[in-house]
């Protein structure tokens, strides 16, 4: 904006009694395409901009968003945020405080190698057209919907402590949703490639190869037998290990869940909660990963956070508020869906670190079990620690060998039991498909890990 307008707004916030005040100005530019069975169904492009003003007044947060950036609108936003926080503070039973924050001035751009903005739309379309025709080659695939999107997200963060950070990142994604059909049997499947990067994504990951893999597994599942249900040893691949760690552990380590009394991990720091061979990390600095970001939405630098080290709970994902409550330091875990939403505590890229088993060793001791691959997502009740996650396909394991293909399965368990039940961790660490995590707001995340063996999990 210039003319130090934002600084003036922040000053006014403090003058009117706020103990802390920040402004996030956002500009987001996106292009998306959708092709169904060879035909372009949707082509959309646009730009949105706006700002969110947040104040902490007498221990209560006030937040107000606008999508018109002007002196008047920012002033209105500040006044509303202050008024709301004031009225809230008259009834609040507890006072929010925030831990110390570093004053940072930075202007950072994670410049994509190939800026999608410079790529002609025809080339983007071609990616989908190629996926579409390759996947349609697979016998049994009935319909194919492919989608492409890129987005450039610019954020200007300023706070009353003098931080002034401009950051710009780019994310690119291609995905397929397909339906396979045989007679009256129909199933739907999904696969994605994506990253916090530009069009070079498609030099790193071949979307056609990904789509074909998904198509082939859908057709295999269509003909597969139903999985036995009950409790079995289970081996999960990168994708499924990823969603497992995200659901089973990740959410319960989010600072706001912990401090609100909603996490089974409250008060467990320093305790052994997982098997010795388990180290779990949330890392927002991973190059190109879908959940990466340079600064969080409170102006704290993104970090690599060790959640579990050798089975011991070492840390939580924290923003400045929850860090203060827990006597810890923010590790850059505050994320908002956009400038229009207030930041919550969120995961970035969460994974189980690699172990020392090779692929064959993981299977060799299993007499009868399930090998589950790919993910259809999951969900958790963090208070009880009970969770569910779903695989795209599965195989029977018999006497150490991967044998009969099975239909897609879901797995379920209790966090504190299942983390102790992992008795083999592979040496083949990789992130799985990029995803979106919903917690009232939707944010891009990555997750993954090596192949792991769970001694016993409920399969249904």
């Amino acid at each position: 904006m210039g003319d130090f307008l934002e600084e003036a707004i922040l000053d006014e916030g403090i003058k009117k009694g706020a103990t802390y005040c920040d402004i996030r100005i956002g500009k987001v530019r996106r292009t998306s395409l959708e092709v169904k069975d060879g035909e372009l169904k949707k082509a959309s492009s646009g730009e949105e901009e706006g700002a969110g003003v947040r104040v902490l007044y007498n221990g209560v947060w006030g937040f107000f968003t606008i999508n018109e950036i002007s002196k008047d609108s920012l002033k209105t936003a500040l006044r509303n945020a202050l008024d709301m926080a004031k009225s809230g503070s008259s009834v609040a039973r507890e006072r929010v405080k925030i831990g110390p924050g570093e004053t940072i001035k930075d202007n950072i751009r994670w410049k994509p190698k190939i800026d999608p903005f410079d790529v002609p739309i025809e080339r983007k379309y071609k990616i989908l057209a190629e996926m579409d025709s390759a996947i349609h080659e697979i016998e049994g695939v009935h319909t194919v919907t492919t989608a492409y999107s890129d987005g450039t997200i610019y954020t200007h963060f300023l706070n009353s402590e003098g931080s002034d950070i401009q950051a710009e990142i780019t994310r690119t994604l291609a995905q397929v949703n397909l339906v396979a059909r045989e007679g009256a049997k129909v199933i739907g499947y999904r696969g994605r490639v994506g990253g916090t990067c530009g069009f070079e994504l498609f030099d790193m990951f071949d979307p056609v190869e990904k789509g074909v893999k998904v198509g082939e597994s859908a057709v295999r599942v269509l003909k597969a037998k139903r999985s036995p249900s009950g409790r079995f040893p289970v081996v999960t691949d990168h994708d499924l290990t990823g969603v497992f760690v995200h659901e089973a552990l990740g959410h319960a380590t989010e600072g706001d869940i912990v401090t609100s009394g909603d996490s089974i991990l409250e008060g467990q720091i320093g305790n052994k909660i997982a098997a010795d061979n388990i180290t779990i990390i949330d890392d927002s600095t991973l190059k190109n990963a879908f959940g990466s970001y340079p600064y969080d939405d409170e102006g704290v630098k993104g970090k690599r956070k060790i959640l579990i080290q050798d089975g011991v709970l070492e840390g939580f994902i924290l923003n400045r508020e929850t860090a203060h409550k827990l006597g810890m330091e923010s590790n850059g875990g505050a994320r908002a869906e956009s400038f229009a939403a207030r930041p919550l505590v969120r995961m970035s890229n969460t994974y189980i670190d690699k172990g020392d088993y090779n692929f064959e060793e993981i299977f060799e001791d299993i007499k009868y079990g399930i090998y589950a691959k790919g993910t259809r997502g999951g969900e958790v009740d963090t208070a009880k620690g009970s969770f569910q996650f779903s695989a795209q396909e599965a195989f029977l394991i018999e006497k150490g060998e991967i044998t009969t293909p099975l239909k897609d399965v879901s797995l379920s368990g209790m966090t504190l039991q299942i983390l102790r039940n992992i008795d083999a961790v592979g040496n083949d660490l990789a992130l799985g498909d990029p995803g979106f995590c919903g917690k009232g707001q939707l944010v891009p995340v990555g997750d993954g890990g090596p192949h792991i063996r769970i001694k016993e999990a409920a399969v249904g």
């Binding site: 395409l33 035909e39 372009l40 949707k42 082509a43 492009s45 646009g46 730009e47 949105e48 947060w61 006030g62 937040f63 107000f64 968003t65 606008i66 999508n67 018109e68 936003a77 945020a81 008024d83 709301m84 926080a85 009225s87 809230g88 008259s90 009834v91 609040a92 039973r93 739309i121 025809e122 009935h142 319909t143 059909r181 129909v186 199933i187 739907g188 249900s229 009950g230 706001d256 609100s260 009394g261 909603d262 229009a340 207030r342 997502g377 969900e379 958790v380 009740d381 208070a383 009880k384 009970s386 569910q388 239909k407 897609d408 879901s410 379920s412 979106f436 919903g438 409920a458 249904g460």
Partner: protein, 454 residues
Amino acid sequence: MSSMIDSAKRIVEMALKKGAEEAEVFIMKSDGRGFTIEKNSVSSIAGGIEKGIGIRIIKDKKLGFAYCTEEKKADSALEQAISLSKLGNESEFTLPEPDKIKKIENLYDDRIVSYDDEDALEGTTTMINSALEVDSEIVITRGGVGYGSESFAVVNSKGLEMEDAGTEIYASVSAVLKKNGMSTGFEKFSSRTLDIDYHAIGRECANLALKGQNARKIEDKEMTVIFTPYALANLLEFITAPAMYGEAVHKGESVYTGRIGEQVASEDITIIDDGMLAGGLNSALVDDEGVPSKRTELIKKGILQGFLYSQSSAIEFNEQNTGNAMRAERFGSSRNYKSPPGVKARNIVIEGKTVKAENLIKEVDEGVLVYEILGAHTSNPASGDFSVTSPILFKIEKGEFAYPIKSAMLSGNFHECLKKVEGVGDDHKLVSGGLTPISFYIPSLSLGKVRVTG
């Protein structure tokens, strides 16, 4: 004439001047407040005004779409839409003609527009206190209250000029009780009018947590499952609704393809998509293309009747437009000017011969009563197979409530479950969707034989 209609008309004119054959402008404005509760206290209040413009054009028989946040950026958005349109295939698509609308009751309440922060704060306090009155060891871990209004206008070059405005208030609370083991509870409420009972929400949530104390494990078995409205809504949202979309049906992606007139559910239930439901959470005079909302019977007494269409799928498959165009992102629960129109169910309503909800268990020899499920979005929408985890459920034996269960997995095929309706409750509730704008007005349903894994 409102300023939104005026603005939309100017942009439509602009599009035609730039050579578009047809043009449509959608403008949306929302104004809302949200109060967050964390650990028995209000921690944050958020509000805001959001507005935006979605522009769709047809040029050389090809479609293009772009969006922006202000009218002064419409020129550049139009250029983008026109440039995108060059990419597409020629189609027979044409924008809808203006049509007559019918009034729908209870979608707008002035009392919500003038609702005060103080009123809402008093409400959150009442909610928390009412829960603590049930048991002082209860912790309301998370929750909140929100209210606001949303208005939208659709104008197109065929002379269609529609606008509507609505209000909504909602509240939700989750509780944890650590006493004899740990149990959890939750309660939600949504309404288009100001008829919220904060006291009841807090009390219901706490009672559920209290009822869940001393939970036990159960054996793996097939049994009857009574889904309460929240759990049922989850399955309907991710399994039944997508199977009813005209395009999926015509493309053979749905289990209902080619089965109109067939018995696909129990004769005891009728399933309707009602965009005109009085007080419905997803009701409006028109859909997001300006087409008057309709009431569409999907399944009548178990017999498959029809499917849901927007303008584009109605034209492509030569069917009647059912007013189901919705603008929403793939996993977005609110409508959104940034997305081109797609098809979504409006309010899914289940009707049937009801019994008192508390009597549903009397007919069950062995079963479970399920309040909450996790992972419904991982269901296979095409096959109807689901496998979900329930953290809040209770065992029923010989028609009586037996004991709370720690956690269990429920799996089966939901299309098949709907054929085995053992009872329909009289406890219809308004429920909003989890990851889509689809809403519900549904009762508890007792459904035959689901695999329960303890």
